[in-house]
């Protein structure tokens, strides 16, 4: 059950990296960055999953030694990571808009004034 999640998350990361390496359109490169992010998020949230566990929502009175729930920490990490990923996409897209205005193209092979 969990192996599927791990394979899926690394497949997403690999797809995203392929996109970042092979695609010459800046928008596609940013989609690749997004895919890498989603893969990582899937990996973290899978790490904290306990088969058969309940949602980790308790009051102190309800919480006993026998309570069996999924690990809440990775879920918190995933939330943070999703927020960061959204910021990254927004920021890179805003840079791309400005770049398009200045360079008149989205082709990475033409956006290389800084080289050598």
């Amino acid at each position: 059950m969990m192996a599927v999640n791990y394979i899926g998350s690394f497949a997403l990361i690999a797809l995203g990296l392929y996109c970042m390496v092979a695609k010459h359109n800046l928008i596609k490169v940013i989609i690749g960055m997004g895919l890498v992010d989603y893969g990582t998020n899937l990996l973290i949230v899978s790490v904290g999953f306990n088969p058969g566990g309940t949602a980790p929502i308790f009051t102190i009175a309800e919480l006993t030694r026998e309570s069996f729930f999924v690990d809440p920490v990775p879920q918190a990490l995933t939330l943070t990571s999703i927020v960061i990923g959204a910021c990254m996409t927004a920021m890179s897209l805003s840079l791309v808009i400005k770049l398009r205005e200045q360079y008149g193209t989205l082709d990475t092979r033409k956006i290389r004034r800084l080289n050598g």
Binding site: A22, M33, L43, V47, I84, M88, K98, L99, L114
Partner: protein, 646 residues
């Protein structure tokens, strides 16, 4: 323990972040209030770090602060903690001093720009995140701080977005830098899956019990590459070059002096405290190898540059390469040499970037080919530049000499102790790199500050005093830390090095006494450094002897006939070269102000190595896909090497 002092780490971080928000609230009304808020937050953070010097560095305490008072329960750390040991405080001091100098410099340097409220808000957030990173005792917190750091640094790189290439440099930094962030996050997820904790101290205690668990080893590879990206080690150096060349000079200081130090801090924390695996030869080869390759490739790349700050950027990574090389040696002397050079690098590279900023501020240009003769118009800036250039090239009595001397000793000692040729080779590469650095700075001095003064710069004036004061602070630090290496070693380096080697104490202070012993981690520590003093007359005599031998050998080998032949053949080759750039050294008639080819002073060297240089030039293609590919290949390589060989 003084409980009041315990609040200082969190207060120092908070005051920078709160300052950022207050700046954006009051800054739109009045420039004075904005600068006041920035100055107060920077000074307060610096003062708090200085107040921690006595308990942490001198008395050897470790200050822990649990946010919301969530202390560990039954040996499990659920809360987030800040843990300040001597190593963290050493980097905290570097960060706050650099932030202070950069901020004071910005007040005058940025006065030509508009929307400065955004600049200072981002600047303070960058400072706060970097300080939070080095003081944090929680792995995920480190990741969050790295992300804030990357975002603010990217935004500040693109701050002058009308400047040629600013957006391009920022976008490349963001895209390829995201590889490093992802790598860190995957490493953290893997560690969490095995150890179920994020606290650095607890991770450090639990890792030895895991044995040769492949997931833990893969996590090491990912975390190492994540920090290496943040330190811009090879193959990530094109990012640094692009970002530095287009960012404002005060931000270049922050990127080179502070952001790369976060990567260095991360690597030291990871290899010495978390994994304690630098006693394994493979990890030593890996870390030292990355350092040595970055050191050499970046210094040769600097030869090709025609932009003042892009050239400085390559030197910056070359010097970070020195630091990583020394850190990877795995000996106490190596770590303290690395820490010393990290500190000196912030000082002298900051000074050089600020002088480059001064030149840009007064002339509006950073082009080495068009500048020249500024020593007549800006004598004080020239003096400051020469101090910085002498420091980075490792000339005595400046600080670069003292730390490079220690790095050579550490590498040589390591090679002699193990009889391993690799470390001796690294020592030789370090020496050659230092010579090339000096050569490169002679070129810069010649093409910017000496030679003929072009017509359009006849009216250039000296920079205002408010910009010279930060530069003088750094220049004085260059000389002081170079003249008193013994004191620096005793009061700064020795405590920080002992902290790096004493993981048990780090664990006990966070998790409760006896926790480390229960997990089988022995108390370590460093009693003293076996280092021969820079000013030891015997070593100077040996150096003199070596140089005399080298000169004698060269003089004996090169008979007059050889010299004549060499001259003729070089003239022949000269005729074959069609590029007019190579001819300016002799003719100088192509343009009036060719100033003996100031920016091509070493055309002969470049000509002989032209295949290497043209290959490296093509390698730095400027296409973001290529840079991503290099990064992915490097991460895959380290991952495979670690899993197969560890």
């Amino acid at each position: 323990m003084n409980t009041f002092l315990n609040n200082f780490p969190i207060l120092a971080i908070m005051i920078l972040f709160v300052g950022a928000f207050v700046t954006s609230l009051v800054g739109r009304r009045s420039a004075l209030a904005r600068n006041g808020v920035v100055l107060v937050s920077m000074t307060a953070a610096l003062a708090m770090m200085l107040a921690l010097v006595k308990p942490v560095l001198l008395d050897g305490q470790i200050i822990t602060y649990w946010l919301g008072n969530w202390e560990p329960v039954e040996g499990w750390a659920f809360g987030i903690c800040l843990e300040v040991d001597a190593l963290s405080l050493f980097f905290g001091l570097i960060v706050t001093v650099a932030v202070f100098v950069s901020g004071v410099y910005s007040f005058t340097y940025m006065n030509h720009d508009d929307s400065l409220v955004n600049y200072y808000t981002l600047f303070l957030m960058l400072s706060g995140s970097v300080l939070g990173l080095v003081l944090s005792g929680d792995l995920f917190n480190i990741f969050v701080m790295v992300e804030i750091m990357t975002f603010t640094a990217v935004a500040l790189t693109a701050f002058r977005n009308t400047y040629e290439g600013a957006l391009e440099g920022a976008l490349k930094y963001l895209v390829v830098g995201s590889l490093g962030s992802t790598s860190l996050l995957v490493g953290i997820a893997m560690l969490y899956s095995q150890l179920h904790t994020l606290n650095l101290a607890q991770i450090s205690a639990l890792i030895p019990g895991q044995g040769a668990n492949p997931v833990i080893i893969a996590a090491f590879a990912f975390l190492f590459m994540g920090f290496a990206t943040k330190a811009f080690l090879f193959p990530f150096q094109p990012l640094a070059a692009d970002a530095h060349a287009v960012a404002p000079a005060s931000i270049s200081l922050m990127i080179s002096g502070v952001l790369t130090k976060c990567g260095v801090y991360g690597i030291i924390r990871l290899c010495y405290v978390l994994y304690e695996n630098l006693n394994q030869p493979l990890v030593q080869y890996l870390v030292t190898g990355f350092g040595a390759v970055s050191m050499f490739i970046c210094v040769t790349m600097a030869f090709n540059q025609h932009n003042f700050k892009r050239l400085l950027a390559f030197h910056s990574i070359s010097q970070v390469g020195y630091v990583i090389t020394a850190v990877g040696l795995g000996s106490a002397l190596g770590v303290s040499a690395g820490l010393y050079h990290a500190m000196n690098h912030t000082i002298f590279k900051g000074l050089l970037f600020l002088t480059a900023g001064a030149v840009q501020h007064q002339t509006g240009s950073l082009d080495l080919d068009s500048l020249g003769g500024l020593s007549k118009r800006m004598p004080r800036t020239t003096l400051l530049f020469l101090i910085g250039a002498a420091s980075i090239s490792g000339l005595p009595p400046f600080n670069g000499f003292a730390s490079k001397w220690m790095i050579y000793q550490a590498a040589f000692q390591r090679g002699a102790a193990t009889g391993n040729f690799f470390f001796l080779f690294v020592c030789i590469v370090a020496l050659i790199t230092s010579v090339l650095t000096l050569a490169s700075f002679i070129k810069v001095a010649q093409s910017v500050f000496f030679g003929q003064l072009p017509e359009q710069y006849k009216e250039v004036k000296e920079v205002p005093l408010a910009m010279r004061i930060p530069m003088w602070i750094l220049a004085v630090l260059c000389i002081v830390t170079g003249l008193f290496p013994t004191q620096v070693q005793n009061y700064l380096l020795l405590p920080a090095t002992s902290a790096a080697f004493n993981a048990a104490n780090y664990i006990d202070q966070a998790m409760g006494l006896g926790y480390a012993a229960a997990h089988g981690i022995a108390t370590g520590g460093v009693a003293g450094l076996m280092v021969s003093d820079c000013w030891n007359p015997t070593s100077w005599l040996m150096l003199l002897f070596c140089i005399t031998c080298a000169v004698a050998i060269v003089a004996l080998l090169a008979s007059p006939n050889d010299l004549k032949d060499a001259h003729i053949s070089s003239c022949d080759e000269q005729a074959e070269v069609l590029d007019a750039k190579y001819e300016s050294f002799f003719s100088g008639e192509e343009s009036v102000y060719s100033q003996v080819g100031g920016s091509d002073l070493f055309w002969g060297f470049k000509h002989n190595w032209r295949k290497y240089f043209s290959y490296m030039h093509d390698w730095h293609s400027g296409i973001v896909n290529d840079y991503t590919l290099y990064g992915v290949v490097a991460i895959a390589f380290v991952l495979l090497a670690c899993i197969i060989l560890l």
